[in-house]
Symmetry: C2
Subunit: 219 residues, 2 copies
DNA sequence: ACCTGAACACCGTTCAAGT
DNA sequence: ACCTGAACACCGTTCAAGT
């Protein structure tokens, strides 16, 4: 009886594609990737499962859109002027933080990246820096690849371990020693920093003209 | 009527856990990970789906066993004497090859690794080398982490792209330029080598005492 | 333009019961 | 010790039809 064509109070409004992606991100953070089904998402939106397919082509594409949202902060506000290796460290840290900001963020991004459904998050920024500095774009891509794959893989592992021993550890597997989990400062941030330092050291060395030459397509 | 307790000719014998893992590897290579279901695997073995659960605790553990098999060649025959950075490159190349040896190998290993259900494939070897050379074990682990996550992530991407444009490319996504796919020598092996060189250069630099110090737990 | 209802072709896992 | 049969509680996706 009442005019419900504007979204006052509650439900009953029509949804946009962005609303669906918002809801997916929200549900991801609440229940985790294994429980993020199209049917639960539909429930969460107060809609039939089939309705989702008007907004989104399939689940993979939805997860790609979710990935793009997770990766948003990585390429925000430039104001660079840095060298390639310094920019690389910065982008790596931002990527790490962005992945950790959502439950199972690294896993979602890992598969979208592998499927080629999102842009590699480091490349645009590093290419821009390379251009400024007269460094070859191929070198920026190489550094971007090393950074991206390492950070995503490491964070994936890290995030699984966190939710594993948050839920109680229990049985099976190689097992992680049950130590300080308490304060968000779990010991493996050291491992992350150390390995990242190693890769950055590689970038610095190569920039200084040492050891390795950039791609140089044979033939 | 005939004694069927020895495996003559065909089916009808009882299966061991190893047989199940064998069959899973075989089926993985035939149909790929998305189509490797417990039910199809049961079919492949001539058995009811429920029978699998006598041999294996669940699907994740089965895939962990599959991962361990895929990773077998990585830690085979030592005969080292090499420096840490040289051993690291060797182990990276072996890992890459092993992952490529099975369809969706990198994806399977990626998740088993993240879940902590398989040993990181580079660590044992690199620790042994570090011990021989009087290098700290923590440095071996750092190099192992950088190598493993990079190689697995890169190969995952590479393998998805291969099967994507093997099947016809079609629609959607960021897209890979349709060029030489022909001879197994797809252009991105260059990208792999370049980024691996970068990481190894980092290891060499750190070994020479440059730029970065190994972990050193703060406090 | 956006959504419902109903169906299709599947999943992983459990568990009593058989041999 | 190893497996069957049957069930439970789900999946992603399609498609005609409604408004």
């Amino acid at each position: 009886m009442i005019a419900d064509d504007s979204n006052r109070g509650g439900r009953a409004t029509r949804r946009s594609r962005d609303d669906v992606v918002d809801a997916a991100l929200d549900l991801l953070d609440r229940v985790g990737l294994p429980d993020l089904s199209m049917r639960r998402l539909a429930d969460h939106l107060g809609v039939q499962p089939s309705a989702l397919y008007w907004h989104v082509e399939n689940k993979q594409q939805l997860l790609a859109a979710v990935s793009a949202r997770i990766l948003g902060p990585v390429s925000a506000d430039h104001a660079d002027g840095a060298t390639l290796d310094v920019a690389a460290r910065d982008v790596a840290v931002r990527l790490h933080d962005s992945l950790l900001a959502y439950r199972d963020g690294a896993e979602v991004v890992s598969s979208s990246l592998a499927l080629g459904l999102v842009e590699p998050p480091a490349h645009a920024r590093l290419r821009a820096v390379a251009l400024e500095r007269g460094e070859p774009a191929a070198l920026a891509d190489t550094i971007g690849d090393a950074i991206t794959h390492f950070v995503v893989g490491f964070t994936f592992h890290q995030q699984q371990r966190r939710s594993a021993d948050a839920w109680g550890a229990a049985s099976g597997g190689v097992a992680a020693s049950p130590e300080r989990i308490a304060d968000g400062d779990d010991g493996d941030d050291d491992g992350f920093t150390a390995a990242l330092d190693l890769i950055i050291a590689g970038a610095t060395t190569v920039l200084a003209g040492g050891a390795t030459q950039h791609p140089a397509p044979r033939r």
